[in-house]
């Protein structure tokens, strides 16, 4: 925590310096973005995974009604089956925020963070649908969260 607190001001300096430097020196690595914005991007995606989780639950509910449908019927179903439609709308909102985040973050970090959605699905299905929460599930959730944390940390290289 202390490290983060001390790091934030220096990040701001980097942002200023980076802006000047990048216009003078031709860096071979075009991906150099200031760490503060990169962390912000990771945080945005991490928060948005709740949207993904709700969308996935809605899509699963909708998909169950279409288990025997063909490809075309599934495509039409996206607009005619309310849970599917709502699910995909949420996906749309997520995509907008994801694109915004991608401007400042690495795709190899941000894309796997979406896996946090599974954690939300597990939590939501326990809270909303009263599905049993077994120890293995808790361990799995902890491991995924740890993985995302390691990923977010390592992004700054």
């Amino acid at each position: 925590m202390f490290i983060i607190l001390f790091y934030v001001p220096t990040d701001c300096y980097h942002m200023e310096a980076g802006g000047v430097l990048s216009s003078v020196t031709v860096s071979p690595d075009a991906q150099v973005v200031d760490p503060h914005k990169r962390r912000q991007a990771a945080l945005i995606v991490a928060c948005c995974t709740l949207l993904i989780a709700v969308a996935q639950i809605l899509i699963k509910i909708g998909a169950n009604r279409l288990s025997r449908a063909g490809f075309l019927e599934t495509m039409i179903g996206i607009f005619t089956v309310p849970p599917l439609f709502a699910g995909y709308c949420l996906y749309g909102v997520f995509t907008v925020l994801f694109v915004y985040a991608l401007r400042h973050g690495e795709v190899s970090v941000l894309y796997p963070i979406i896996a946090l959605g599974y954690v939300w699905v597990a939590i939501l299905s326990a809270v909303v649908f009263h599905e049993a929460m077994n120890p293995l599930k808790v361990v799995a959730i902890a491991i995924i969260v740890a993985g995302v944390a390691v990923l977010g940390w390592g992004g700054k290289s």
């Binding site: 495509m75 894309y111 599974y118 993985g147 992004g155």
Partner: protein, 122 residues
């Protein structure tokens, strides 16, 4: 517990695998589209990379829905993580992103967690 008969059709497995690879490609297109964005409407509307990214993403979701609609979630679920590994390769190829130990560890942990989660859902 006896060994259960495999109830997940191969077609579902193939669909989900293809969907996850396509999905990772979609993320790559979205990224390259996002880099080209300027704060005006035409740069957003006429951004073919972004459009391609969204179409690819949607296609991936449709295939995903098709694949998930019949078959065991515990088998199909972990296959999604293939997309994360693909993204690691794509991002190195196209955006010169470095594959750090933290990224490999993070994705590895996520994969392990997803496998545990799908086992727990059985």
């Amino acid at each position: 517990m006896g060994r259960q008969k495999l109830t997940t059709p191969v077609s579902s497995i193939a669909l989900v695998l293809v969907a996850s690879v396509i999905g990772s490609a979609g993320a790559v297109f979205l990224k390259s589209g996002a880099m080209n964005l300027q704060p005006n409407v035409s740069s957003i509307v006429f951004n073919w990379r972004l459009a391609l990214g969204i179409v690819t993403y949607m296609l991936s979701s449709v295939l995903f829905v098709k694949g998930m609609s019949n078959g065991e979630l515990s088998v199909l679920f972990p296959m999604v993580s293939l997309g994360y590994i693909c993204t690691l390769a794509w991002s190195r190829l196209f955006f010169q992103e470095v594959i750090t130990r933290a990224k490999v560890m993070g994705i590895g942990l996520i994969l392990l967690g997803i496998i545990f989660l799908s086992l727990a859902n059985k």
